[in-house]
Subunit: 138 residues, 2 copies
DNA sequence: TCTTTGTACTTGCAAATTGCAAGTAAATAT
DNA sequence: ATATTTACTTGCAATTTGCAAGTACAAAGA
């Protein structure tokens, strides 16, 4: 159980103490928008996270109650990671990163998703939060 | 002029290539919500950024067109950093970090600002973006 | 004019983190 | 019985960070 060392009491600073690196939010992105839930699936993403970094980030996220780790329903040798409500609440952050990235950098994204986020952001966020809750309750 | 190395074409990944560390968004937070605009002011923040890290992040942000650096109007030996539109567009990200932090961690924040963000998020974002534009145009 | 202060860095170095390659271990499939 | 899948662990080099100190130049004060 890793404890959080807050650099200050500022909420931005504290959020960055948890999420402020190049990998953590990519794991959450994969869970929300790519339906990934296992160690092996996270490893396969385009950004090629190193195995030790992935293990570390999953442990930190679990220790902070952002996701949970349970034995998979199909295999005993497999674990499934699910978002908690605290994790589901990061979806608005990820959405804003999507919108800023697509607006200001050369990126590639599912155009249906992009239009959904641009036209009805709050509705789309609620939809993906609902979907995440469904996945988590299986 | 530092070039951006994108780990992938995903907009989340690319946004994190730029903003994904513990310090960059704190500088932007200080510019938007604490009216800071000089090297010395950034150094004084509660999180105590190291001087070499601050210099590096300011240079990266400038090279990516997120902020501009100009000689201050009052002193020739002083520089003023201002947000560009690309920088102003990060305000929704910062706001979501504020909301996630205040909801899930022990933090301290101006209650007026928090209520403003919770009750009328979009309106408040527009307000702070407008204020940032005013500062930048002085 | 000389000194001090303010502002913005630069430098050196130890510590921590990351990235990469390889190896391990238990459960499952053949 | 053997091979494969899944989830790690380990070792090590390279990079990044954090800390302390020093530099450079403009402005203000004596």
């Amino acid at each position: 159980m890793k404890e959080l060392k807050q650099r200050s009491t500022c909420p931005v600073s504290t959020s960055l103490d948890v999420l402020g690196d190049k990998w953590t939010l990519l794991i959450l992105r994969d869970m929300v928008f790519a339906d990934k839930s296992t160690y092996g699936q996270f490893l396969q993403s385009a950004e090629k996270i190193a195995t030790n970094v992935l293990v570390d980030r999953l442990a930190v996220l679990e220790s902070h109650g952002i996701l949970t780790k349970v034995v998979a329903s199909d295999k005993k040798s497999k674990f499934t990671y699910s978002l908690t409500e605290k994790g589901i609440d990061t979806i608005p952050i990820i959405v804003e990163l999507i919108l800023w990235g697509t607006k200001h950098w050369p990126t590639v994204i599912n155009p249906v998703l992009l239009k959904e986020l641009q036209a009805e952001k709050d509705t789309a966020i609620q939809k993906y939060q609902r979907l995440a809750r469904q996945k988590a309750s299986v």
